[in-house]
Structure formats: structure tokens, C-alpha cells
């Protein structure tokens, strides 16, 4: 990495005379080309720091550069959750310690059997279409999710949820079939935003997709597809969450939520002052952006990290020792830390990320890089011959494993580079890893979703609790299919552990159970971790008060304000 000029102290005022006089353009272009080809570090723009005594302003427009453009504001995808949070309020919010705090629900209790949750709603809250927030409306929302309105909400509560009833205008009861003590935390995710019942019932699918009506700090003004969503401040906002930094409507008037898919362009736009904040700073730029005076926020999302799940029902990985050999063949830490520039955290645990409550370090440390051990395991498993290209064989069949991955959306560029490193390192042990990039269409079309089609599945799944284990490891049975079980691993022992944990009310006891489930997964080498999924933000120093909500790391602009 080339060196960077030292930071100069700045007083925040324009400095006449310091700017070099503009040379004739041709000359400048030549000079720039020379600079470019000399490989000087990319510091297209350094942030101009506001004065120390800069005053907070109200009003203004935040131009925010986001990565992906979802189809709708509300839905089951994390990109939608980020947007929903701006417009819709949840029943609860998550504080920095992972505890649920009041949002639309000002308090809640669980019945002794853990099957009934009673929520007491805030008074005087109105949706932006003027209809009041009532317990009946919330109950309607929950049923709406469970009937397909939000597939992710459905996956979370499916198997637990029974019904929702409004006891009065402000008292809501949720009835469960099995105890789910972490329900309050779960409801803090963006998938559980509450919409106006009137709007859901009377407006078209298109309108509810593009501009859902909630009670949030902002409203959707319009959506320029391919370019931006314009959010306007809700001046009558009353229902900020308990962990909000200020009481009252948002400071800024407007957010231009712009879609800038290319990471390099996003960084450049922030440096050029075209955006005030951007999402997902590439690892390679992370240090430089911070050094140039931009505020950086980093959130390790909870839930399943970027990991590799092995196919346990077909192919070479049905043999547990082959799975272990694969794990031992990789120097995952070195790979991730090099390619991730020390920004992306290595994650050894394939079940949940380090920020997830109940995370097990033991599970993470199960497999170190140990090539001789990998080879010994393979030879013991019968893969004792080596062909002319250096790959192991058994009965004349090469040890080839297929690793399809969704390029672009689920595995980003860094992730793809790490997978290529995996391929290269596994080769040393004699694995031929067939990396198959699948475009989103093929991926979402169900390509490589069946046991006969893949040996390794790569991917992540964000959540707020280790309850994600239930989603990922519940058995896939005829009567209760679970296609999210990427290892195709049907094991009642593991499922029992998870179910037990899910319904354990005591946090420590629950975490212990979740930890045992993670270790079970690690011990059987069902899944190995690669790196933790990050949600990063870089913010111009002119913009203060931006924070990341704790459920998924999305930006919160309710408290954001410019300074001058």
C-alpha cells in the first residue's frame, strides 16, 4: 500500500491560495495520468472538517448512497428491512446490549407458560395516512405477514405463532403454540414494521410496495427507479424508539436514498461530496476513508455468518472425516485477513457470528489450518491416491466438490476472492473445488438448490438471535419441509437442542443451549465459518448523529443533522 500524506489540521474555513491554480487542462490531464499510472494512493477527496464549534442545523437533505435497490420498500430481504426502518416503526427496538426496548410497544409481558405475549401500545400514534395505531391494526399486520406479506417474518414465527388479538385499542396479545422467549428481540428487525391497516386494505399492491404507510420518521415521497428513493420527514412524528437520541421529528427535511451499486463509485461519491453518507465501504478503502476524516460505523450483523455448509446426504462430504479434512486444509484466518484488509473479521464459527448472543468461541476454534491432518484424514477415508494433477482420488474418482455461489448479491467481490482462496488452499490437500458463480436469476430460480447439484453451499442469514439456528437446522421433513437447511442435515438431536434453546426463557441457560448446538455443528463439521458479515457506513463530518440500528446495522437518520 502506498503511503498517504499526513493529515493537516483544518479550521474548516475555505483557504484561499492553498488551492493550486488550475493549469491548462491538457497539462493537467497529462499530469493526472502520470499520477494515476504512478500508482499513487487513491485519495480523491479529503473530508473538510467542520469547525469545532459548528452549530447543529435543522433541515437539509441527506444524500445517502446505498448498494442495492430492492423491488419494494417493505419485504423479506435485508435491503428492504433497511428501507422499511426509515418509514415504518417496529413494536420494539434493540439497544446496544441486544435487549429489546420500547418502540411502538411501551411495555410487554409474557405469560408464565411463555405462550401469551401482551403488548401495551403507545398512545396517540397516527399513521401518516391519518389513521390511528391500534392493537387491531397491529394484529392485522401480524396476520398479513404470516399470510405471505413478508416471507422472512413468516419463516421466523412459523411453527410458533398462533394468533393475534386486540384486547382493547392499545393492548395486543400474541398467542404462541410453543414458548419463544426472544420474541421481543426478534420483533426489532425491519421485517416486522407496522403498516396502516387502512392502507394495506385499500391500496394496490404497487402502492404498498413502493410507498408503504407507517408511522415512521420519514415517508416515501417518490421512487425514481434505478436512481433513488426520496424520503421526506414526517413532521408529526411522535413514536420514536426508546433508544433514540432525541425526542421529536427528524432534523433533516429529506433523504435522497440513492442506489450506487459500484463500491468504488460510492466511495468516490462520498469523497467528492456528492453523497453525505454511504453504505458498505469496501475493505480496501476502509482505512483510507477513515484516515481522510470521514466518520465510519461498523456493525457485525448477528445471525449466520458467511459460511460453507456441506452437503451431508450426497457426494464426498457425506463422510464426516472428509468434511473435517476440508476444514483443516484451509487457512481461513489468513485468507480473510489478507483479502479483507484486516477490516472484515474472520469467523471460524459456521453457525452464528461473534455478535450473536450465545456465540460459542469453542465452536469457532474447532478447526485450524493443519494440512498434514487434512491429508491424513483423507487417506484414512480412502482418498489415498493422487492423480497427475495433484488431486486425490478414490476408486479412480477424483475428489471434486462443487461450490456454487451467487455472485453479486449474496457473495460480494471480497467474498468471491475469498472463495477463490478457499479453492486454491483446498487444492493443496487434493480437493478439486469447482467454483460455480450463479447469477441471481439462476440462483433464485432454484439452480443448485438440490442435494445432487452441490457439495458446498455458501451464504449468510442475518438475525438478532441465535434463533437463526432454528431456521437453518430444523429438519427438512416431508410434512414440515425446510428448504433453508442448506446442509440437508436431518438430525433430531440437533433440532431438539435448538428447540429447547428457543423456548428457554432464562438467557444464560438459553445461550448455553445455543452454544451446545453450535459446537454440535462444528464437531460434525456440518458448516464452517469464513467471515462475519459487516454492515458499514461512512459519513461526512458535516453530518452528525447517524447511527446503526442494532438489529441489522442499517442507518438511522432520525437523529441525523448537519452542522455548520
Amino acid at each position: 500500500m502506498p503511503s498517504r500524506p499526513p493529515r493537516t489540521p483544518s479550521d474548516g474555513r475555505p483557504r484561499p491560495g492553498r488551492r493550486p491554480r488550475r493549469t491548462p487542462r491538457a497539462l493537467a490531464a497529462t499530469a493526472a495520468l502520470t499520477v494515476l499510472l504512478a500508482g499513487c494512493a487513491g485519495s480523491g477527496g479529503r473530508a473538510v472538517q467542520p469547525a469545532a464549534d459548528a452549530k447543529p442545523l435543522t433541515g437539509g437533505t441527506i444524500v445517502y448512497g446505498h448498494q442495492q435497490e430492492p423491488a419494494c420498500v417493505f419485504g423479506g430481504w435485508i435491503e428492504q428491512a433497511y428501507l422499511s426502518t426509515q418509514v415504518l416503526d417496529d413494536l420494539t427496538s434493540l439497544d446496544t446490549d441486544g435487549r429489546a426496548v420500547p418502540w411502538l410497544a411501551q411495555s410487554w409481558q409474557t405469560s408464565a407458560d411463555g405462550l401469551t405475549w401482551t403488548f401495551d401500545l403507545k398512545r396517540g400514534v397516527e399513521f401518516t395516512d391519518g389513521t390511528p395505531l391500534t392493537a387491531a391494526a397491529v394484529a392485522y399486520n401480524v396476520d398479513y405477514w404470516m399470510n405471505g406479506g413478508n416471507s422472512t417474518a413468516q419463516v421466523w414465527l412459523g411453527g410458533y405463532y398462533e394468533s393475534a388479538t386486540a384486547l382493547d385499542d392499545h393492548t395486543l396479545q400474541l398467542h404462541l403454540s410453543r414458548p419463544y422467549p426472544r420474541l421481543d428481540v426478534t420483533l426489532a428487525q425491519g421485517y416486522f414494521g407496522i403498516q396502516s391497516q387502512h392502507a394495506l386494505e385499500t391500496r394496490s399492491a404497487q402502492e404498498n410496495c413502493e410507498a408503504p404507510i407507517g408511522s415512521g420518521a420519514f415517508t416515501v415521497d417518490h421512487w425514481d427507479r434505478g436512481q433513488e428513493i426520496v424520503l421526506l420527514k414526517n413532521p408529526d412524528y411522535t413514536s420514536w424508539p426508546a433508544n433514540s437520541q432525541h425526542a421529536g421529528p427528524a432534523y433533516v427535511d429529506r433523504i435522497d436514498w440513492r442506489f450506487v451499486s459500484n463500491p468504488t463509485t460510492r466511495v468516490a461519491s462520498l469523497r467528492a461530496g456528492e453523497t453525505d453518507a454511504i453504505y458498505d465501504v469496501p475493505a480496501v478503502d476502509y482505512a483510507a476513508v477513515g484516515a481522510d476524516g470521514f466518520q465510519e460505523l461498523k456493525h457485525v450483523t448477528k445471525g449466520r455468518p458467511q459460511q460453507l455448509s456441506f452437503n451431508t446426504v450426497a457426494g464426498p462430504f457425506t463422510d464426516e472425516s472428509v468434511r473435517k479434512a476440508f476444514a483443516y486444509s484451509l487457512d481461513r484466518r489468513k485468507l480473510v485477513e489478507t483479502i479483507g484488509q484486516g477490516v472484515i473479521p474472520y469467523e471460524g464459527n459456521g453457525a452464528v457470528s461473534r455478535s450473536t448472543p450465545g456465540y460459542s468461541q469453542a465452536a469457532a476454534d474447532t478447526y485450524d489450518h493443519d494440512l498434514p491432518k487434512a491429508i491424513a484424514l483423507l487417506e484414512a477415508a480412502g482418498w489415498d491416491a493422487v492423480d497427475e494433477e495433484g488431486y486425490r482420488t478414490k476408486d479412480g474418482k477424483r475428489l471434486t466438490v462443487r461450490l456454487p455461489y451467487n455472485s453479486g448479491t449474496i457473495i460480494d467481490a471480497d467474498g468471491a476472492a475469498i472463495l477463490q482462496g478457499v479453492q486454491q488452499e483446498a487444492r493443496a490437500a487434493g480437493f478439486e473445488v469447482d467454483l460455480i458463480p450463479v447469477p441471481p436469476s439462476g440462483f433464485f430460480g432454484g439452480a443448485y438448490s438440490k442435494p445432487a447439484e452441490r457439495d458446498i453451499a455458501a451464504g449468510y442469514w442475518t438475525s438478532v438471535t441465535a434463533g437463526i439456528l432454528y431456521v437453518n437446522w430444523r429438519q427438512n421433513l416431508e410434512a414440515t419441509p425446510n428448504y433453508s437447511n442448506a446442509a440437508f442435515y436431518n438430525d433430531p438431536v440437533l433440532e431438539d437442542l435448538i428447540l429447547q434453546a428457543n423456548s428457554t426463557a432464562d438467557v444464560d441457560a438459553q445461550n448455553a443451549l445455543y452454544g451446545r448446538a453450535q459446537e454440535y455443528i462444528a464437531d460434525h463439521a456440518l458448516s464452517i465459518g469464513l467471515f462475519d458479515r459487516l454492515s458499514t457506513l461512512a459519513v461526512s463530518p458535516r453530518l452528525k448523529g447517524v447511527w446503526q440500528e442494532n438489529a441489522q446495522g442499517g442507518p438511522v437518520f432520525h437523529d441525523a443533522h448537519f452542522v455548520d
Binding site: 493537467a28 490531464a29 493526472a32 495520468l33 499520477v35 494515476l36 487513491g42 480523491g44 477527496g45 448512497g65 435497490e69 423491488a71 419494494c72 419485504g75 423479506g76 430481504w77 435485508i78 435491503e79 428492504q80 405471505g148 416471507s151 422472512t152 394496490s204 399492491a205 404497487q206 410496495c209 413502493e210 425514481d224 427507479r225 434505478g226 436512481q227 440513492r258 442506489f259 450506487v260 451499486s261 459500484n262 463509485t265 468516490a268 461519491s269 469523497r271 467528492a272 456528492e274 453523497t275 453479486g408 448479491t409 447469477p439 441471481p440 436469476s441 439462476g442 440462483f443 433464485f444 430460480g445 432454484g446 439452480a447 438448490s449 438440490k450 451464504g459 419441509p481 428448504y483 433453508s484
Partner: protein, 337 residues
């Protein structure tokens, strides 16, 4: 009032134009043939796009569902049935096709799977930006090409050689590479232009240049050949013999002749430029049908993809009509034949 026909044979011999009524009939026939041809192209394009999408791997309802949810998993039959019913995917392909054609006739391109909106509305929002970019690029390419060719063509081996070499080099520049270079240099390093190309005219400069430079090189190759050919024509000699200077000859006589192949190329270039637009919109984070298309192909949003295909085919038809018109303006000889 009586009609008198000319009885002067000498005059008659000079006037070879057909009587107006017959000429009008002929024009009408030609226009009709033109329209019929255009309809065939549009229908063919729509059909090909439809068939390609039907043949895409994977169950469409699953794709619609998974893309909405962001999870690549199998879906249950009940989940899929709802989506199928919503978009009529449970019908046989032929019925879907006929429905699709019926919709086309009413200017209805269907409804997006992912955005729940009419495709015409989606494309209507995007096409303006793309057309502005494309036309600016083609215009810019013309200006650059004309100036460059006029200055360098037929000026002795060294100058013409340099001119031709630059044509060749620029014509070979891939859009993505040129775009990245321009972006890196003029937006990121020098900051003269925005990194994100929004609607404004300043943001248009780099994307348009990216498209224009290779196009100018490509058209320049054809124009230069014609230009140098025309420079050797006798009418150039006679213009010079009349006292016309070199620049006058180039601008008043030669350019018009040499522009003809480039005009033809421009019609074709619209297609090539739209290919380039897909890339350029990606490089410069610009909205437009290119980025809509890539998104739609990735999410298998069939109605949008077919919509783009039909739209592009329509643009192609229009562009070729315009090219014909310009051709006739530049070369009135065509009218006679």
C-alpha cells in the same frame, strides 16, 4: 377551367417526373410497406424475447418468490400457486403468448414481477435518460469525427496515417475501459465531473464521451475512406479549378459525400450504442433502460425484459426511418430512383 397539356416536346423530355397522383400512390405504397416491415420486426422481436424468457431455466414462480424474499430455496406448492395465479403462469405457454400479444396491441407490456408496476410506466421513466445519452453520444461522435476527418484525411501520408491510426485505436476501445479511465481521471482525480451521473448536463459529459469516442473512431474509418475517395473525384478537381480552396472543398463538397456511409452507420450505431449504454450506465451509476435491463435479467423479471426488447426494436425501427430520411436529404439522388 381547362387543363392544357404541354405540347412542347423538348420541355416534356426534360420533365421526367411522374404525374402527382401516381407518385402519391407510390409513396403511399412505400409507406405501407415500410409500416408492415416495421410491424414484422416488432412482432419478431417480441416473440423472440418471449420465447427466450420462457426457455429460461428455473421455475418462474419460484424466481419471482425468491427474488422478492432474497433467499435461494425451494418453495411450497401453495406458495407458488398464488404467484402463478397472479401472473397467469398456470396457463399453457401459447395462451400466455397470445395474452402477451393482445396486451402489446393495447400498448400494454405487462406488469413487473418485482415492482408490481406496469412495464410501460417503468420504461417510460427510464427511456428518456437513455435516449438523451444515446443521442448526445451520437451527436458528439459526429462532431468529433467530422472535425477529425476533415482535418486529417487526405493530407499526405503522415497526417492521414496519424488520423487513420487514431480512428482505429479509438474504435477498438471497449466502453467499460474507456469509461473507467475517464471516471478515474476526470471525476475521481480531477473532480471536474460528478462521480454519479445524475440527470444534469454536467453528469452527461463523461458517459456521452465514453460512448462517442469509439463510435467516432468507427464512423471515422468509413468516413475517412469515403472522404479520401471523394477528394480524388473529378468534381473536386473542378471545384478547385473554379478557385475553391482546400477547406472549402472539404466542407462544401467532400464532407457531404463522405457522410453518407456514416449516416448509415449511425442507424446501426444506435443498436451498438444501446449495447454500450448497458455498460456505461453501470460504470457511471446512471439510470436508464440499460441498468433496468441488467437488473431485470438478473431477477428474471420477464415483462421488463420483453418490454426492453420491444422498446429497443421500436427505437431501431424509428432510427432506421430517420436514417433513410437523412440519407434522402443528403443524397437527393435516392429520391429519383
Amino acid at each position: 377551367m381547362t387543363l392544357t397539356s404541354s405540347t412542347d416536346p423538348a420541355l416534356d423530355a426534360g420533365l421526367t417526373q411522374a404525374p402527382p397522383s401516381r407518385s402519391a400512390g407510390r409513396t403511399a405504397r412505400r409507406v405501407l410497406a415500410r409500416v408492415a416491415g416495421a410491424v414484422v420486426v416488432l412482432w419478431g422481436a417480441a416473440t423472440v424475447a418471449f420465447l427466450a424468457q420462457v426457455a429460461l431455466p428455473g421455475d418462474r414462480a419460484t424466481i419471482i418468490f425468491n427474488t422478492r424474499a432474497g433467499q435461494p430455496i425451494e418453495r411450497t406448492a401453495e406458495e407458488l400457486a398464488a404467484v402463478n395465479a397472479q401472473y397467469g403462469l398456470q396457463h399453457p405457454v401459447l395462451v400466455q403468448y397470445l395474452d402477451y400479444l393482445r396486451g402489446l396491441l393495447h400498448g400494454d407490456l405487462g406488469r413487473s414481477y418485482q415492482q408490481y408496476r406496469p412495464v410501460t410506466q417503468i420504461l417510460g421513466e427510464q427511456v428518456g435518460s437513455t435516449i438523451v445519452l444515446t443521442l448526445t453520444a451520437i451527436a458528439l461522435a459526429w462532431v468529433v469525427m467530422v472535425v477529425w476527418v476533415t482535418l486529417t484525411a487526405g493530407r499526405g501520408p503522415r497526417t492521414s496515417g496519424l488520423g487513420a491510426a487514431l480512428d482505429t485505436v479509438t474504435a477498438a476501445l471497449p466502453h467499460y475501459w474507456l469509461g473507467i479511465l475517464l471516471l478515474l481521471l476526470f471525476a475521481q482525480r480531477l473532480g471536474w465531473f460528478p462521480v454519479i451521473s445524475d440527470g444534469g448536463p454536467v453528469g452527461l459529459v463523461l458517459p456521452a464521451l465514453t460512448l462517442a469516442v469509439p463510435l467516432a473512431g468507427f464512423m471515422g474509418q468509413a468516413t475517412r475512406t469515403e472522404f479520401e475517395r471523394a477528394l480524388e473525384q473529378p468534381f473536386v478537381v473542378s471545384a478547385r479549378m473554379r478557385g475553391q480552396g482546400d477547406l472549402g472543398v472539404r466542407l462544401r463538397h467532400v464532407l457531404r459525400h463522405s457522410a453518407l456511409p456514416a449516416v448509415t452507420l449511425s442507424g446501426w450505431a444506435l443498436g451498438a450504442t444501446i449495447s454500450g449504454v448497458v455498460v456505461v450506465e453501470s460504470v457511471f451509476t446512471r439510470r436508464g433502460i440499460g441498468s433496468v435491463l441488467v437488473t431485470a435479467v438478473n431477477s428474471q423479471d420477464l415483462p421488463i425484459v420483453t418490454g426492453v426488447v420491444v422498446l429497443v426494436a421500436a427505437l431501431y425501427v424509428v432510427a432506421n426511418l430517420v436514417v433513410d430520411l437523412v440519407h434522402h436529404l443528403l443524397d437527393p439522388r435516392l429520391k429519383a430512383s
